[in-house]
Symmetry: C2
């Protein structure tokens, strides 16, 4: 499968699971993961085959749990929107009262602050390291 060009441009590869491609946003304003289901060119969660959907949702759930563990966030935002990039993808974002735009949504808030290289942020390396240890 090919990743949507906007996702390829705006995110860095982190790791893959059996069901998902897990990437990290290049926007440094929030700890922000993006998950894409593997091998399915669909726009909506309900268009995934049930088995892949459950595995993809399990990966989202693990990502959420670990992102909360490795950040000092107040809440985790989980969203599948698809208004701009229609290929199905899920945002998992750590939010806190001191972050830009709190308590509003991150999408459309201000201007991105892009990471200027391809090094992975610390939270992303921690997520990758812990991912395989959680059921």
């Amino acid at each position: 499968m090919t990743l949507a060009p906007e996702l390829r441009r705006d995110t860095l590869p982190l790791f893959d699971t059996e069901a998902s491609i897990i990437r990290v946003s290049r926007d440094t304003r929030w700890p922000w993961l993006i998950l894409v289901p593997k091998g399915a060119e669909v726009s909506e969660m309900h268009d995934l085959q049930p088995e892949l959907r459950r595995s993809f949702l399990d990966d989202i759930n693990r990502s959420s749990e670990i992102l909360q563990q490795v950040t000092t966030c107040t809440s985790i935002n989980i969203a599948m929107l698809g208004n701009v990039v229609s290929s199905l993808h899920c945002h998992v974002i750590a939010r806190a009262p001191e972050d830009p735009g709190w308590p509003g949504p991150v999408w459309g808030h201000g201007e991105p602050v892009w990471r200027d290289d391809t090094s992975l942020p610390g939270f992303a390396r921690q997520v990758r390291a812990r991912f395989s240890t959680i059921q």
Copy 2:
């Protein structure tokens, strides 16, 4: 369990499943469902027990599929945010290019246009009618 006061105020009851309370937003700008997992006072999806989490996610998935069927939407927005109301709840919203705020998120966009009575909108009655017919 008690529903968060903001959810009680801003939504109308639609129907319950074994796992979820399904309500409809009183904001008439978008076809907008809100699902709350039953019997669990948690803030994050990953804090739900696995069985309830899967049933709750199945209900979200069915709601998404049916909402797309009964509206003329371009995409379904699914989101669990919790920045304002921390009790776990999931938004399922039908979006289209002609709707307010497209392609931005609905949260924080402009002022609500409240339904002034407790009658259910047509899309919500259709969702309720179809819900039991889908796996």
